[in-house]
């Protein structure tokens, strides 16, 4: 088999001491809105505004992450296609990364959110910095 790394990168469950601590894949929001490259920005913006999201993950048909739209990209000209407006190739993280590690990285790099993907790039969810901080505070109590 591809090994434990591949299993964990797919967000599959494990047992052991680390499994007791929340990880990126556990905390990432699975209901993050997605869109395709050829969608119109104005349509996507309207769709996500209703759900109070300020970020959208751009994926292909296999759900592989291609780009990201954060507030700045969502505010662009409504007639642009997503592929013209998006931030291409965002940094992605594997589901098994600890929240502790994610908190450090996101704060240091001023990332409000980060896509969590499997090793083959498929979207698991969007990890929000505020969720990471809240989870860390909960653990600290």
């Amino acid at each position: 088999m591809d090994g434990k790394l591949d299993w964990m990168a797919a967000g599959l469950p494990t047992e052991g001491t680390n499994a007791l601590h929340p990880r990126a894949g556990d905390t990432a929001r699975k209901d993050v809105p997605t869109c395709g490259l050829t969608d119109r920005l104005g349509d996507v913006r309207e769709r996500v505004k209703e759900k109070a999201w300020d970020s959208v993950v751009v994926v292909n048909q296999e759900h592989v992450v291609l780009g990201l739209l954060r507030s700045a990209e969502l505010a662009k000209d409504a007639d642009l296609l997503i592929e013209q407006a998006m931030r291409p190739g965002p940094s992605t993280f594997r589901p098994y990364v600890s929240l502790h590690e994610m908190a450090h990285f996101m704060i240091e790099h001023k990332l409000e959110n980060a896509p969590i993907t499997t090793s083959d790039g498929r979207l698991v969810g969007l990890l929000l910095q505020k969720d990471v901080v809240a989870a860390m505070n909960k653990i600290a109590k």
Binding site: M1, D2, G3, K4, D6, E15, G16, T17, N18
Partner: protein, 67 residues
């Protein structure tokens, strides 16, 4: 007969009763292992495999990655 399988096949075989064996050192096994996996470090395989494993069921052996 030994062969290499992928993640989906592993899940299928586990569901059918295959035995999982992690061969990494103790600290790594204790931190994370696949659900239900038994720990049999590489150096102990020959000495302990027959004692720990059921000969009648398939055995899936894994380490950290394929490299």
């Amino acid at each position: 007969m030994p062969g290499e399988i992928r993640r989906d096949e592993v899940r299928k075989m586990i569901a059918q009763g295959a035995q999982l064996v992690e061969v990494l050192p103790s600290p790594e096994y204790e931190e994370d292992h696949l659900p239900g996996a038994v720990h049999l470090p590489l150096r102990q395989i020959e000495a302990r495999a027959t004692e720990i494993l059921d000969r009648k069921r398939p055995v899936i052996v894994y380490c950290w990655d394929t490299s």
